[in-house]
Every structure is written in structure tokens, then in C-alpha cells.
């Protein structure tokens, strides 16, 4: 009962703050709204018994990535963004595209009933750190190591790009 309410609450927060993110004129508010969304999503993860992911999510997204965003916005001093005027037909097109996509996605989702009906929860604690760690270090060792190389590359790239002399 409680979890059900928690689900609805988290969902509401996530969607509301996501909307706030895209509609807010001030980018700083946008970032903050997004952080709120991420917290809500982390909450979902908890509900789904994926504690490890929930933790990582908060650390990485809310803690690192969004702070980076915030930092950049602050540094560039983009308090108020000049929004360009959009032509009406562009707006119309965007609305149509978004609406259509929503419609199609919902239609597709509606069909998942038939698929998930046969599934059953076999191992409810698969999201625990221990289990996840086993899978990660046994089956996905190579991608895991590759991820570290990716990070290295990203790091080098970021540093290189941000060097003043390039400008």
C-alpha cells in the first residue's frame, strides 16, 4: 500500500520536475529541476529493489553530471537565455511530432501486457550489490574494462578541448 503511494508520488515528481526543466527560462532552474527528476528516478530504483543502481545514480547523475552542468552554466554566466523566435509551423511540427511519438509509444506499450504476462519474478534480489557485482565481473568483465578506457579517452578529450590555447 505504501509502496503504491510511493510509486505514484515519485512518478508525479519525476514528470512534474521534468516539465519544469524544459519550461523554465532560467537554465539554473532547469538543472535543479532535472536533479529533482533524477532523485525521483533513484527512488523508483529503490522501489524496484535495485539499491546499488539507485546509489550509483544519485552519485553519478545528481552528484557529478548535474553539478558539471550547473558549473558550466555558472561559468558561462548563462542566467537568462535569449530564446529565439520560432516560426509557428515549426512549433506546430514539433507538437505534432511529439504528440505522434507519444501516441505511438503508448500504443506500443499497451501491447506489452501480452508479453509480460508470462514472466514471473524469479530472483527478486538481483539488484543487490553482490549479485550485480558477480555478473559485472564475470560476464561483463571486458566491457567493464573497456569502460575505463572510455573514461580515460573522455578525460583526455575534455582536458584537451578545454585548453585555452585552442581558442
Amino acid at each position: 500500500m505504501l509502496t503504491e503511494y510511493a510509486f505514484w508520488f515519485l512518478s508525479f515528481v519525476a514528470i512534474f520536475s521534468a516539465l519544469a526543466m524544459i519550461f523554465s527560462k532560467n537554465p539554473v532552474y532547469s538543472v535543479l529541476s532535472l536533479i529533482l527528476t533524477f532523485f525521483a528516478i533513484a527512488g523508483h530504483y529503490f522501489l524496484l529493489n535495485a539499491q546499488f543502481l539507485a546509489a550509483v545514480h544519485i552519485i553519478v547523475y545528481a552528484g557529478a553530471i548535474m553539478v558539471l552542468f550547473l558549473y558550466v552554466i555558472m561559468m558561462l554566466n548563462l542566467n537568462r537565455l535569449e530564446e529565439d523566435k520560432k516560426s509557428t509551423w515549426m512549433k506546430f511540427l514539433s507538437v505534432a511530432a511529439g504528440g505522434l511519438l507519444l501516441f505511438v509509444l503508448l500504443a506500443v506499450v499497451k501491447r506489452t501486457d501480452e508479453i509480460t504476462i508470462t514472466a514471473q519474478a524469479a530472483n527478486s534480489d538481483c539488484g543487490l550489490v553482490e549479485n550485480l557485482g558477480k555478473v559485472l565481473y564475470n560476464d561483463y568483465l571486458l566491457p567493464f574494462e573497456l569502460a575505463s578506457i572510455l573514461f580515460l579517452g573522455a578525460m583526455v578529450g575534455a582536458v584537451y578541448l578545454s585548453k585555452k590555447e585552442l581558442a
Binding site: 511540427l93 511530432a97 511529439g98 505522434l100 505511438v104 506500443v108 501491447r111
Partner: protein
């Protein structure tokens, strides 16, 4: 003995190669000796080969090397020895030899002497291939080869563009005929699977595989080939122009040998032609029309060689008339006698031109009798022979053509007689204007007049002798039978060509002979009264007086007609194709097609405008389409 036949073409070929490649430092006499010596050797060998055929030996095929080999079509370079080919051999090498000798004198002063003798040798080589080849394909080799030699010799004096034009015209019109011959060969091959005479006519008769319109069409195509080579209507226009070449060339190629290749070919294909009445009629009518056309035009020409040229056209027409009526051996007979007297006449005219210093207009001649005695006598013999006055060669052959016409077709008989009468008239006109009366040229020319050297007159004399006695090889049937003189040529060719058996009484034949003689004599008399009695040049020969005369003198405007309806339209079409069709239509079309991708490209380019939103929209559109398949 038959094996020797493969040597015969080798002599002139070697002569040609030797003179072209090694003849640079040699004197003109040596070159002349080599050139005519080669032909003489060929002549001797021909006689040896000929003797094997005298008593009815079977045709022999002598293979030299493989030539074109495909799974089905297989042609060797090989020669056929049979009466028809050997008799052609004899007069080609014989007359050829005489003309070579004559050329030594005639061309002595020319800077291209070596070249001339070499070309003549090459020509004889190809002519021999033509008659010796054992298949249509081999004949075609010679056929085209003589065409090229003719091209080179007509345009011998190549610095004069008129000569080159004449040479080109001859070659191209010949080529039209050759196309006909190729198509004929194609049809024969398609229906019988072979082009060898052996398979077609001799050991098997594959030619009977042709039926109905295939047969007619094949025969007509072959005849188109003959039209080109033997200058029959409508492909006759090149022959008079071909007189641009040196006179020995006119004698050898354009009177005695090459132009009779068409007769050879039709005679060789007699099995096909005699089976096709349609084609035979075509041959006959084309022949007689050509004969009349040539004879009428010859009446008004003033160039000594042009008169002879049209006379040749006319005589060839008569031969084809004979062929069309099925009298193959008689046509061949006339070919041989014609070779003698026409070569004689041409060489005689050459001697005259030589003496006149290049003048060819008979209006500027006259009274040459005393200056050129040998030439005069021999030319007179030639004239009598061609006019058909007994007992010279022309009488026998022409009379038999007329006799056959009498049997076969009265219209042909009348027309052939008219031609015969015209022939006698224009030949005597030529004779009188040239040799009798008083000299009409310039004083300088008169001073220059001289008889030709021996090297030129001896061939004239030999040919004159042949023109006198050559006719006896084919004594008229009925009369000959009564007098126990066999028709030797008919017997000789009996197994080679289809025979027309004349069923004619001695009386009828004698009457016809007398009639022909009388006609010739009357024409001669008319010519005499017109050109001799007054002792002056007739008015209408100096200027053109009537429209008929104008038409004849302009050769029925046929050249002009061809110019208008063929040459100019073709040129115009070619120019049109070059200037309009090619750049404006085809290339334009290609350009338009090539614009399609670049047009599409510019559309796609508009989408790639760098606006992120557009890309996103495109992605979403794609996503929607993709997902909608899942619904």
C-alpha cells in the same frame, strides 16, 4: 600438273613485293622486265594448267593453306582448276602480259613508273585469285582486291584531285556492289551451309537447298555484286570516270579483266541463276538497258577514252543480257573476244594519246592514219571486230548473243540488234574522226606526232591478230555443225556452266548472221557518210544542238541525279546528325538524365541545413514509422 596452279598467283605477287620493297635502285627497264616477266611466267604456267583441262578432266581443288575456320564455316585458301577458271586464267595472264609490255613504253617517262608496274602486278594477282578461288569467299578476296588496285590505279596521278575523286567513286560504288555480294553469300551460306563451289555445284549440289524467294533474292544479291563490278545500271557511273587512270589501266582493268568479273561470277553461279527465272529476268533487263544506255551515250562523247568506256559499258550489258537468257558460255565467249578487241582499242587509243601529247578530244584529231600506221591498222581491226563484221572475233560472239535473243525473247532480239547497230556507228565515228580526214589539232601537236615505240606496237599487233582469229573458238552451232566446225568453247565449258541448247536450223542461223552483218555495214556506211564524205567535223559534234543530244552528252544526267538523291541527302543527314542529333538530342538527353541525381541532391541538400531541430524531427519521424509497425 594441276598443282602448278598455286604458283600462278605467286608470280605477280612476288613481282609486286619485289618492285615495292627492293625496286628502288633498279632501272625502269629492269623493273618492266620483272613486272612483265612475272606475268609471262604466270601465263606459261597457265597454259600448262590449261592443257590438263583440254580433254575434259574433272575439276580439281588445290589447297594452299587453311584460312577462316569456324565450327561450321570453313574456308581455305585453295584454288579450283576447271575449264571456266582456266580459260579466264589464259586471257587474264595473256592480255595482262601484253598490257604490261605496252606499259613499259607508255609509262616510261612517268616518275611513278615502278609503282605503276607494281600495282599492275598486284592487280593481276588479285584477278587471278578472283577466278581461281574455290569458294565465293575466295572469289570475294579477289573481288575486293581488284577493287582496291583499281582505286590505286585510277588515282595513280594522285596530285590531281579529280583523279582521286574518280578513284574514290569507283571504289565506293564497287563497295555497294560488294555489299550485295556479301549479302548473297550470307544467304547462300544460311540456306546451304557452305560457300564452296565444290559443295554447291560440283560434287554435291547444295545449291538446291535454295528455294523460292530465297533463291531469287540470293541470286539478285549476287547480281548486285556483279552490277558494281561490271558497271551495270544503276551502278555504272564509275566506269567512265575511271578513265582518269593511265590508259593501260583502262585497257587491263576497265575493259579486259576486272569489269568482266561480274560475268565470271554469274557464269560460276549458273546453277543458281538458271534456277531462278526472276533473277535471270533482272539480269537480262539490267543488261539490255545498260547496253542501250552505254551505246547511246557513246554516240555523243568526244573524249576518245570515254567513247571506249561507254562502249565497254554497253558490251558488258550485252554479256549480261546473254547471261540473263541462260547463254552462259556465250557470255564468256563474248568476254574473251571483247577482252581482245577492247584491250586493243584502248591500247590503240593510248598510242594515239601518247602521240598527241596527252590530247584526248577526238575533235582535235583526224588524219592520224599516215602518222601512226601500225596504230591505225590495229585500231581499224579492233573497230571492225567490235562492230561485228565477219569474220572477226566480235562477230561470232555478238551474233550468237543475238541468235539466242531471237530464240528466247523477241524484244531482246530487237534491242540487241539496235545496240549492235549503234555500236558499229559510234565505233566508226570514232575511227573516222580520229584517223581519217585532216588533222584538226594545233600545229605543235602535228609536229609532235609519231608512231609509238615497238614495245607498244607489238602488243597491238598481237592483240589485232587475236581479234581477227579469236572468234573461231566458238563457231556458230548450226552453221558450224553443217561445216563440221565444232563450237569448241561450248564443248569446253559444257560441264562447268549450265548450257543453253539452241535449237536452230542452219537456215535461220544463216539468215540471222547475214542480217547482223548487214546492220553493221549499214551503220558503218551511215557513219561514213556523216563523218567522211564532208571531210569536216559534223556540226552537232562541235556544239550541242538538240535536247536529246544534250541529254545523251550529259549521260542522261544520272550522275547529277545521284548527286541530288543520294550523295547530298546522305551528306545532309550526316551533317544533321553531327550538328543536331548528336549534341542537341542524344547528348542533351544524357545531360538531362545526369541532372536527375543532382536535382535529387539539391533536394537532399536542403534537408541537411545544419538545423539540429530538423535532424531531430527527421529522427522522430523515422522512429514513428519504425514503431508504427509494432502496433
Amino acid at each position: 600438273m594441276e598443282k602448278l596452279v598455286s604458283l600462278i598467283p605467286v608470280f605477280p605477287l612476288v613481282g609486286f613485293l619485289y618492285i615495292i620493297f627492293l625496286g628502288k635502285g633498279l632501272s625502269k627497264n629492269t623493273i618492266g622486265a620483272i613486272g612483265s616477266g612475272a606475268i609471262f611466267l604466270a601465263f606459261i604456267t597457265s597454259i600448262l594448267v590449261f592443257t590438263t583441262q583440254l580433254h575434259g578432266a574433272n575439276p580439281t581443288i588445290v589447297k594452299v593453306i587453311d584460312w577462316i575456320t569456324t565450327p561450321k564455316f570453313d574456308i581455305d585458301i585453295s584454288f579450283i582448276v576447271d575449264p571456266l577458271s582456266t580459260i579466264y586464267l589464259l586471257f587474264i595472264t595473256g592480255v595482262g602480259f601484253l598490257i604490261h609490255v605496252y606499259s613499259i613504253g607508255y609509262m616510261h617517262e612517268d616518275e611513278g613508273f615502278n609503282r605503276f608496274i607494281a600495282y599492275l602486278n598486284l592487280f593481276v594477282f588479285f584477278m587471278l585469285i578472283l577466278v581461281l578461288g574455290d569458294s565465293y569467299a575466295m572469289m570475294f578476296v579477289g573481288w575486293e582486291g581488284v577493287g582496291v588496285c583499281s582505286f590505286m590505279l585510277i588515282g595513280f596521278w594522285y596530285k590531281d584531285m579529280a583523279n582521286n575523286d574518280a578513284a574514290k567513286k569507283a571504289f565506293i560504288i564497287n563497295r555497294i556492289g560488294d555489299l550485295g555480294l556479301i549479302l548473297g553469300m550470307c544467304m547462300i551460306f544460311f540456306h546451304t551451309g557452305t560457300l564452296r563451289y565444290d559443295d554447291l555445284f560440283i560434287s554435291e549440289s547444295a545449291a538446291s537447298g535454295l528455294h523460292g524467294w530465297d533463291l531469287h533474292l540470293a541470286a539478285i544479291f549476287l547480281f548486285i555484286g556483279a552490277m558494281g563490278k561490271s558497271a551495270q545500271i544503276p551502278l555504272h557511273t564509275w566506269l567512265p570516270d575511271a578513265m582518269a587512270g593511265p590508259t593501260p589501266v583502262s585497257a587491263l582493268i576497265h575493259a579486259a579483266t576486272m569489269v568482266t568479273a561480274g560475268i565470271y561470277m554469274v557464269a560460276r553461279s549458273s546453277a543458281i541463276f538458271s534456277a531462278s527465272d526472276v533473277a535471270s529476268d533482272v539480269v537480262m533487263w539490267a543488261g539490255i538497258l545498260t547496253a542501250i544506255l552505254g551505246a547511246t551515250i557513246a554516240l555523243t562523247q568526244n573524249d576518245i577514252k570515254k567513247v571506249l568506256a561507254y562502249s565497254t559499258v554497253s558490251q558488258l550489258g550485252l554479256m549480261f543480257t546473254a547471261l540473263g537468257m541462260g547463254a552462259y558460255s556465250i557470255a564468256v565467249f563474248h568476254v574473251i573476244t571483247h577482252a581482245f578487241f577492247k584491250a586493243l582499242l584502248f591500247l590503240g587509243s593510248g598510242s594515239v594519246i601518247h602521240a598527241m601529247g596527252g590530247e584526248q578530244d577526238i575533235r582535235r584529231m583526224g588524219g592520224l592514219k599516215s602518222h601512226l600506221p601500225i596504230t591505225h591498222i590495229t585500231f581499224l581491226i579492233g573497230t571492225i571486230a567490235i562492230s561485228g563484221i565477219p569474220p572477226l572475233a566480235g562477230f561470232f560472239s555478238k551474233d550468237q548473243i543475238i541468235a539466242v535473243a531471237f530464240e528466247e525473247n523477241m524484244i531482246m532480239f530487237v534491242l540487241a540488234s539496235v545496240v549492235s547497230a549503234l555500236t558499229a556507228f559510234y565505233m566508226f565515228r570514232l575511227y573516222f574522226l580520229t584517223f581519217r580526214g585532216s588533222f584538226r589539232g594545233t600545229h605543235e601537236q602535228e609536229h609532235h606526232l609519231h608512231e609509238s615505240p615497238k614495245v607498244m606496237t607489238i602488243p597491238l599487233i598481237v592483240l589485232a591478230v587475236l581479234s581477227i582469229f579469236g572468234g573461231f573458238m566458238g563457231f556458230p552451232h548450226a552453221v558450224g555443225h553443217a561445216m563440221h566446225v565444232p563450237h569448241w568453247l561450248d564443248h569446253f565449258l559444257e560441264n562447268t556452266v549450265e548450257m543453253e541448247v539452241l535449237d536452230m536450223s542452219v537456215g535461220t542461223e544463216s539468215i540471222l548472221m547475214i542480217l547482223a552483218t548487214v546492220i553493221a555495214l549499214i551503220s558503218m556506211y551511215i557513219a561514213y557518210t556523216k563523218y567522211m564524205k564532208n571531210g569536216e567535223l559534223a556540226l552537232e559534234d562541235d556544239e550541242i544542238t538538240s535536247s536529246t543530244h544534250q541529254t545523251l552528252a550529259s549521260k542522261y544526267y544520272i550522275d547529277e541525279l545521284y548527286e541530288k538523291i543520294i550523295r547530298r541527302p546522305v551528306d545532309a543527314i550526316a551533317q544533321f546528325a553531327r550538328n543536331v542529333v548528336e549534341p542537341k538530342i542524344i547528348d542533351e538527353l544524357v545531360k538531362q538524365v545526369s541532372l536527375i541525381p543532382s536535382g535529387l541532391g539539391s533536394v537532399a541538400k536542403a534537408a541537411q541545413n545544419g538545423k539540429l531541430v530538423m535532424y531531430v524531427l527527421a529522427m522522430i519521424a523515422g522512429l514513428i514509422i519504425l514503431l508504427s509497425t509494432l502496433i
